[in-house]
Amino acid sequence: MRHVIFNNKKVEFTENQTLLDTASVAGINIPTLCQGDTCYCSSSCGLGIAENVDTGELISTCTTLATEGMNISTESTKVFEARREKLISIFSKGAHNCFTARLPEGKCAPGHLEARELEWHEQECPAKGTCTLQKLAGKHKVPVMDIPLKIETPVVDNRSPFIARDYSRCIKCGQCISVCQDIGQNAISRCSYNGTWHPTVDIEKCTHCGQCLEACPVGALFDKKAFGIAKKKVTKVQTTCPYCGTGCQLQLHVKDEKIIKVTADEDVAPNMGRLCVKGRFGYDFIYSENRLKTPLIKEDGKFREASWDEALDLVASKFIEVREEYGPDAIAGLSCARSITEDSYNMQKLFRATIGTNNIDHCART
């Protein structure tokens, strides 16, 4: 087996493995913003650097292959400083006012106040608290307040009813592009804007599945429905999608007994982190004002509200009456292929055991 040395520790590597992958297999964390086994734009974030201890050189771990005997430090002062510089440069190119959103005028560098005026910036950044860039800034003591912001791509794409794409916060990591290719939609490509680039979506090809939204490490892509709903006191509950027979597992983000957002976990079968537009964004039908809220009884062609007792008694007595007069087979029932299995169980039991007929079916369209 061949070895490299990471931070004075011997680590094994295999043929054609990058230093970044070698480190990650060994559990050594090298921060990156664009890394991923499907990385589309290798080394574009520039953070995956380390020091070659023997030569004192800084190298990019995501593009350099491990070779026998290399001696690498991922934590030296030189690496720390270089990463910090890189982070400052990333911050200075976008509307990253997350640390200064509430500071009074004059307390922060130029550009921060302008950032507040942008669309979708009236509330704090939707990625606050989960943002990879924000975490790295904290860890590397980046003086965010003092960095003048020059907003390179003040472009907002609002065409999707579900996904806001605020490129003023885009760090050009390419994660959304790779994930969209990974699922085979190929709806995003690079587009240049004033000499830089940002991703653009071919809205005709886009299926609004929101997979890109989950890949975005910062607050550039976000869920419109969840915008501005504080993340505090959110609990996650795993459940099954109510739409098609794939049975995708959803993670419901629940606040005050209400679903505010839906995501999926990569290691849970059958969908392995993937969802479609209905599963991810179609949850809120249950909160519609059109819901039936009380039992109804029709009188003279019109529905009136009724109590459970009154409505249940009426149905039970009517069923008994029909059964007495015409036999149990004069009653028939259609069960539901969308509701839980236990509901269907009880309905067929009501028909077979209580009413006494096998006239029970469900919607024939399978």
Binding site: C244, E257, S335, S339, E342, G356, C363, A364
Partner: protein, 543 residues
């Protein structure tokens, strides 16, 4: 034959398949996440073959697209088998070891040489020959189908044909193979498992089996279980008119919108003497009801769904139901009580753990406790069993209802029959129907979810550029469609997804719903209606 409506294999098999054969399934729209797994398999080198009259999105990924005429599936599959047998390409050893009825199959399919069937299917003979050779070389092949196979008067025969083909190739019982229906609704599998079928108890035990009847009489503490099959949905509807059925209970479905031939369905429903509905929204169907019970919806109640891979998953409660709405199982339990039966189970967990799972041999080993930690694919015969990702893997362990009969499979020789209604001078086009991405069936859920209506808010009819040009209309023009059952005026979308001579629609909205037009003629065995094919006339401008 193989007897179950579930997938024999699992989604994780898709990447193991050398060839993926998709018949009558627009999965990019109906099962979008499954389609992404198919994309990945193709990226990793699997061959993809799509058999569909329409050039669906998935065909962009396909190595081969066989654009058959609507309703010619049996003829096409027979001709593929014809080549496999004539050229000696089928898996002789597998067939000898596992299957009966080969001689009859051979006799039948030899009457379907690709050159002759071309007239029926519209698929060039060379394409059929090269597909047969591909299937013989690139094994295992995983066959997946959806409603394009079942929603025909020959639906059951179409399914048999799929099974014949996979048996002949030796693709059954292997990872990356199998016969795999992608079931449409989220819990159609669970509803079947629970016995919401006129001929079977929970766990597919037949009502005409006296042993099964005794078992359930004991379990439910009753003595009156009937030993003959009950009415299926079309007969129930018809029965409302003939007064064979006097009281009708509809739970959570909207047959007034989703059943074919809506004029007829409305006629039936309005003749109901007494009708009850459980639902979460008012629908066209609840308008016909005398009593409507408000139900708890998804995520307002604990329970389980079973997906198309036979995977049992938990559904969890996070929100209270609105107003005084209650869970459906509670409503049924209250009615039973008022009719004299007291049931012990007082939550979904009780129903599953104490009744359904112990009564269904395939579910014996599944409890809510286990489901807290994992999802399980039935059969799970006991508490330590890990679940069954592949059915028919080992005949010694085959589950009762879905096994090969007596440990062996049977070929069923099938002859092709045309659709019930074929185009003629008066109605020269074929109308076929399906679903679109942004809505779900009658759309009572999706139309009430914020945003999905922005993406699609009305019915549209797809038509080929050639036909549109002949009539002189374009995308967004309103055209009139008329069948023997009804007429609608609907917005056109000109697209080469549909072939010449065909128009295609969905059925998500009440207005201009395609079911004003569709034919309720149904498969004689399954009673599934022929949504995929009827004859239609186009008028432009509308008359």
């Amino acid at each position: 034959m193989l007897g179950s409506g579930a997938m024999s294999n699992s989604f994780e098999d898709i990447e193991k398949a050398k060839t993926i054969l998709v018949i009558g399934s627009n999965m990019t729209v109906a099962h979008p996440v499954v389609a992404t797994f198919v994309h990945n398999a193709v990226q990793n080198g699997s061959k993809l073959v799509v058999i569909d009259p329409r050039a669906t999105k998935l065909t962009e990924w396909a190595d081969m697209h066989l654009r058959l005429k609507v309703g010619s599936d049996v003829a096409l599959i027979n001709s593929i088998m014809n080549v496999l047998i004539a050229e000696g390409l089928y898996d002789k050893q597998y067939v000898e070891q596992w299957a009966d009825g080969f001689a009859e199959l051979k006799e039948t399919v030899l009457r379907y040489p690709p050159e002759d069937t071309e007239k029926i299917t519209g698929v060039p003979a060379e394409q059929v020959v090269s597909l047969a050779r591909l299937l013989a070389q690139s094994k295992p092949a995983m066959l997946m189908y959806t409603l394009g196979i079942t929603e025909h008067t020959s639906g059951v025969h179409n399914v048999f044909s799929c099974a014949n083909l996979q048996l002949l190739l030796g693709n059954i019982g292997v990872p990356g193979g199998g016969v795999n229906p992608l079931r449409g609704q989220n819990n159609v599998q669970g509803a079947c498992d629970a016995g919401a079928l006129p001929d079977s108890f929970p766990g597919y035990e037949k009502v005409d089996d006296p042993v099964a009847r005794r078992k359930f009489q004991k379990a439910w503490n009753v003595s009156n279980l009937l030993g003959y099959e009950g009415l299926r949905l079309p007969a129930m509807l018809e029965g409302l008119k003939t007064k064979k059925v006097r009281a009708f209970y509809v739970f959570g479905e909207d047959p007034a919108t989703t059943e074919p031939d809506m004029h007829h369905v409305h006629d039936c429903l309005s003749s109901a003497e007494f009708m009850v509905c459980n639902d979460i929204f008012p629908t066209k169907t609840t308008e016909f009801a005398d009593v409507v019970f408000p139900s708890a919806a998804w995520s307002e109640d604990d329970g389980t769904f079973t997906n198309t891979e036979r995977r049992v998953n938990r559904v969890r409660k996070v929100s209270p139901p609105p107003g005084v709405a209650r869970p459906n199982w509670w409503i049924f339990r209250e009615l039973a009580k008022r009719m004299g039966d007291t049931w012990a189970s007082s939550c979904a967990k009780d129903i599953w753990d104490n009744e359904m799972a112990p009564q269904c041999s395939m579910l014996n080993g599944i409890t809510y406790d286990r489901l807290e930690k994992e999802s399980l694919q039935w059969p799970v015969p006991h508490a330590l069993h890990p679940g069954t990702p592949h059915l028919f893997k080992d005949t010694a362990h085959l589950y009762r209802d879905v096994r090969f009969t007596q440990g062996r499979a049977h070929f069923k020789a099938i002859d092709w029959t045309p659709s019930a209604e074929i185009p003629d001078e008066q109605y020269p086009f074929v109308l076929s129907t399906g679903r679109r991405l942004y809505h779900y069936n009658c759309s009572s859920q999706t139309a009430n979810a914020v945003g999905l209506n922005d993406l699609l808010s009305e019915e549209i009819v797809d038509i080929s550029p050639e036909d549109a040009k002949r009539f002189g209309f374009g995308t967004d023009d309103m055209i009139q469609l008329t069948t023997r059952r009804g007429s609608i005026t609907v917005r056109a979308k000109v697209t080469d997804e549909v072939p010449k001579g065909m128009v295609w629609m969905a059925f998500h909205f009440y207005k201009n719903n395609s079911n004003w037009l569709t034919n309720s003629a149904a498969d004689p065995i399954s009673d599934t209606a022929e949504y995929k094919s009827c004859a239609v006339r186009i008028d432009y401008p509308a008359v």
